[in-house]
């Protein structure tokens, strides 16, 4: 989609630091934010986030 981290942060109403953290897989987003991300990319949450392996 050619989005910069700043664009994405603005669309999701979060800071750029949160986007960086999400990309690195360090931050566990709330369900609300996860749904927002899935909606923005027109996909399901499972397509964006993988469950943590036990």
């Amino acid at each position: 989609m050619g989005l910069t981290q700043d664009d994405l942060a603005e669309k999701l109403e979060v800071s750029r630091q949160t986007i960086i953290s999400l990309e690195k897989g360090r931050y566990n987003p709330s369900l609300t934010l996860a749904f927002k991300i899935a909606k923005l990319f027109n996909c399901r949450i499972e397509d964006v986030f993988k469950p943590e392996e036990e």
């Binding site: 979060v14 800071s15 949160t18 953290s21 931050y27 609300t32 934010l33």
Partner: protein, 103 residues
């Protein structure tokens, strides 16, 4: 009352301290809002940090309490620490009860 305490100097220092604090706070807030700094990750992070700090404080009060008991006995410092401990614990319990109902 403590003899060497200059109440006028104190009353002069207090508003200047508060004013500087308020100005810094205003600008950080303004800049942060522009960058959407106060999002859910920020809230989570600072909640975690305060939670840790609360635990450290619990230990610190207990240690200070022990020191006071040995050094000074039951005087002002002891009663202040006792009150602090009670407030520290009560606010946690009441907070937990309230949040428990809302969640």
């Amino acid at each position: 009352m403590y003899e060497g305490f200059d109440i006028w100097a104190f009353l002069l220092g207090l508003p200047s301290g508060l004013a500087i604090w308020a100005i810094v706070w205003y600008f950080v807030r303004k800049k942060g809002k522009k960058e959407r700094m106060f999002d859910e990750r920020y809230t989570n992070l600072h909640r975690h940090a305060r939670s840790i700090s609360w635990k450290v404080m619990t230990g610190a009060i207990l240690i200070a309490w022990l020191i006071v008991m040995i050094v000074e006995g039951a005087k002002l410092a002891f009663f202040i620490l006792t009150a602090l401990w009670v407030i520290h614990m009560l606010s946690w319990l009441i907070g937990a009860a309230i949040v428990n109902k809302h969640h």
